[in-house]
């Protein structure tokens, strides 16, 4: 099994130019169909409204709309261009409370910098292969983490 990058489009929201270039370079090198990048969450949301990407990779701390606010905006079923879009958060914050906050906002995956291409690929694959449904409550819309992950296998024959 592999990630079919050639079928996927990405939006990368990261205010640190070094990390932004790095993530874009990884995705392009892996053959991503399209990668659009921006330094702030508001622009990322605008890019998603212009043409929804298949995956969003976002930093936490950004000027204007931060990664948490971006995630909440994307998970808002009434206004989001795609409330189910997989969101991978890539941040220097590794504290447990931060991770829990990101999960409560509705991210699918969380990676703490520094991140290697291998860790990034493996986390992205786990997010894309996730078969669990979403759950909607008055205060949350996102992956249902109370369920165990299923195993995805190729169709026989």
């Amino acid at each position: 099994m592999r990630i079919a990058f050639e079928n996927l489009s990405f939006v990368v929201a990261e205010d640190d130019p070094f990390w932004r270039r790095l993530v874009v370079a990884w995705l392009e090198a892996c053959g991503a169909r399209s990668v659009r990048d921006t330094a702030d969450g508001a622009r990322a949301l605008a890019l998603m409204r212009e043409a929804p990407a298949d995956v969003v990779v976002t930093d936490w701390e950004m000027p204007g709309l931060d990664g948490i606010a971006l995630t909440k905006a994307l998970r808002d079923r009434a206004a989001s261009p795609n409330a189910f879009v997989p969101i991978l958060m890539l941040t220097a914050y590794g504290e447990r409370g931060r991770v829990m906050r990101a999960m409560r906002a509705g991210v699918n995956g969380y990676l703490v910098k520094p991140v290697t291409p291998r860790a990034f690929y493996e986390r992205l694959l786990a997010v894309l292969a996730d078969t669990r449904p979403f759950v909607a409550t008055p205060h949350y819309f996102g992956p249902d983490r109370s369920r165990p992950q299923a195993l995805v296998l190729p169709q026989e024959g």
Binding site: R2, P63, R118, R132, V135, P138, L153
Partner: protein, 190 residues
């Protein structure tokens, strides 16, 4: 693509799953949990169908993608110049004239410190990352009672560590002293 449901955890009964769940199917609340409106919503499968391919093995695909990404990363690093020095200078510029009572100024400094921490982690400069993390902790913990002198001390230490004036051992000592100073300030404020 076939999906094999995960086995139930030990001590828990298996969940009943229907092959085609209704979009409005409601999940049962856990015993003892407060009753909240909770709806299970199936995720459209079209992305998963496009995103996963089964034409090669997992390890083979992983190694090929990682090799390409690492080569691209090496090119980015080769052309990045001294990003750490640039971020350190940027942080120093933002912290110049730091006013603890100005919430917008504190927020700018916090973002700059956090960004410097991220860059330092990216270029394997752990002492600078510690200093930047310490500054971020000070700003978020002390708020409008942040001592401006301690902010300046962090900025000076970061610059000393990034322009080569402080060697690795000295940088580590500086980082440790800054962390201790921040801990003292925060415990006094608690």
């Amino acid at each position: 693509m076939r999906i094999i449901p995960a086995p139930p955890k030990a001590g828990r009964p298996a969940r009943k799953t229907s092959p085609k769940p209704s979009p409005n199917a409601s999940a049962e609340p856990r015993p003892g949990a407060p009753r909240t409106r909770r709806e299970t919503v199936p995720v459209p499968t079209d992305l998963r169908d496009r995103a996963l391919a089964f034409d090669m093995g997992y390890e083979e695909a992983l190694e090929a993608s990682v090799a390409r990404a690492e080569a691209a990363e090496a090119r980015v690093r080769a052309h990045a110049g001294d990003v750490l020095a640039m971020e350190a200078a940027r942080c120093a510029g933002v912290a110049d004239g730091f006013a603890p009572g100005d919430a917008a100024c504190r927020a700018r400094c916090l973002r700059a410190a956090h960004r410097l921490r991220g860059t330092a982690l990216g270029v394997a400069a752990p002492q600078v990352a510690r200093m930047a993390a310490s500054l971020a902790r000070l700003l978020s913990g002390a708020g409008n009672r942040t001592p401006a002198a301690l902010v300046a001390a962090h900025v000076d230490a970061v610059q000393a560590a990034t322009d080569g004036k402080a060697n690795a051992h000295a940088a580590e000592t500086l980082a440790r002293e800054l962390e201790a100073a921040v801990e003292t300030v925060l415990s006094r404020l608690r």
